[in-house]
Symmetry: none
Subunit: 212 residues, 2 copies
DNA sequence: CTCGGTTGTTCAATGGTGCTGCACATTTCC
DNA sequence: GGAAATGTGCAGCACCATTGAACAACCGAG
């Protein structure tokens, strides 16, 4: 019987925690454990119990499986950070030429863009020459698509499907609560804003394309 | 902080172990632990460490996630069946005028289209007048995007993000294995085909748009 | 029926380690 | 300068995962 090496669960946790823009202590408090434990787990010095492991995954809004998947650690560029609020995904990623090799993008290879209002965009794919962006969007608890509180308007059309958490969409004069599995699509010229009032991250697959 | 109840992992283990026709001691020997430990884990009297949990799942040949998932089994909606292979989402839904009311689509309101090769398309949204389709796609075990086995070609661009399960994409002469969180995008003129060789359904959010 | 072979369960005992609390070296911000 | 963040290292304790043996129940063979 081979020793059977357990995948580097810690590294994955750290990776997604950083993607969420969470501090080590913030996660610890959310999970209900000490900060040092999280550190030791992430650095591989300690292996969490099943209950804390489960607590961590739910706090991060990810599946347990994603930690064990053969995602191949991969060299995630230490986060392509870009400070300040950004208005549009296209403008945000414009400076960063698509450096994808194949058509497949794994979680480890994603270009990550963190906004200052508790929102993280991870680029799932982009076809050069098109005005289309394919994103995984994460709204931290309290996060909103515009920190100022105002509504957004831009050209094009927007499609989104929530995979976990809960998200509130203000669209024109109406307000909708999105739950996992719910989807929206609308013309982006309608004033809109997303906001996460829950206490777990809201994650979804988004699709923004601007028909210039 | 709520106690956060961990799913009944033990019961699941026992369930699948019995399905494999394995004795308790046989599994214990395979995993490399004592028989009593397996018993205590299955009866919920003890919680395994992450390493033993991982060893158990690999010994049983199942994913870690399957232990934590809510039963979930089928629960697939009775299905608005439409026999016959369909070539394109747009063509498929063409006969069915968008009868959406608001911009939000919940899982219960989705238009469902079942193909005969173990593939289900659920429309997440559609903006009238556009050649864009926003779908949740489910490949049942053994399902493939074309029952005949041939590759598909059509105009436009295709974006997809897998949320659960495992899916194999044949794109041109290459083959890619998609795991949860992985995403692809490519010009649909490239011959392609999806196939689910796993034993759990593969579910993803897909985006097909044809630039006429 | 009695034996040897299963099956899964339970018990006390122990060794390991998950976890905490604090101190430490950092960096950032006022 | 201090104050408040950040992540890390260490010591120590208590808990619990793990073990091995003894347990009751079942089955087929002799």
């Amino acid at each position: 019987m081979s020793p059977l090496t357990v995948p580097p669960v810690g590294a994955r946790i750290r990776q997604t925690r950083l993607a969420r823009g969470m501090s080590l202590r913030a996660l610890a408090r959310e999970v209900g454990v000490s900060a040092s434990l999280i550190s030791q787990i992430e650095t591989g010095k300690s292996q969490p119990s099943v209950s804390t492991l489960y607590a961590i995954t739910t706090a991060l809004g990810i599946s347990v499986e994603s930690l064990f998947d053969a995602g191949e650690a991969a060299a995630l560029p230490p986060v392509t950070a870009a400070p300040g609020t950004v208005l549009h995904a296209l403008a945000a990623f414009a400076a960063d030429p698509g450096r994808r090799i194949g058509p497949l993008v794994t979680p480890g290879e994603r270009e990550v863009l963190e906004l200052d209002s508790g929102v993280v965009w991870e680029r799932l794919g982009h076809v050069p020459g098109t005005d289309v962006d394919f994103l995984q969007v994460t709204y931290r608890p309290g996060g909103a698509s515009s920190s100022s509180g105002g509504l957004m308007r831009h050209t094009g059309t927007e499609y989104g499907c929530l995979t976990s958490g809960e998200l509130i969409l203000t669209l024109g004069f109406d307000e909708y609560t999105m739950r996992p599995g719910d989807a929206v699509c609308f013309e982006s010229t309608t004033p809109h804003r997303y906001r996460n009032d829950g206490d777990v991250p809201a994650v979804g697959v988004w699709f923004v394309f601007s028909d210039t």
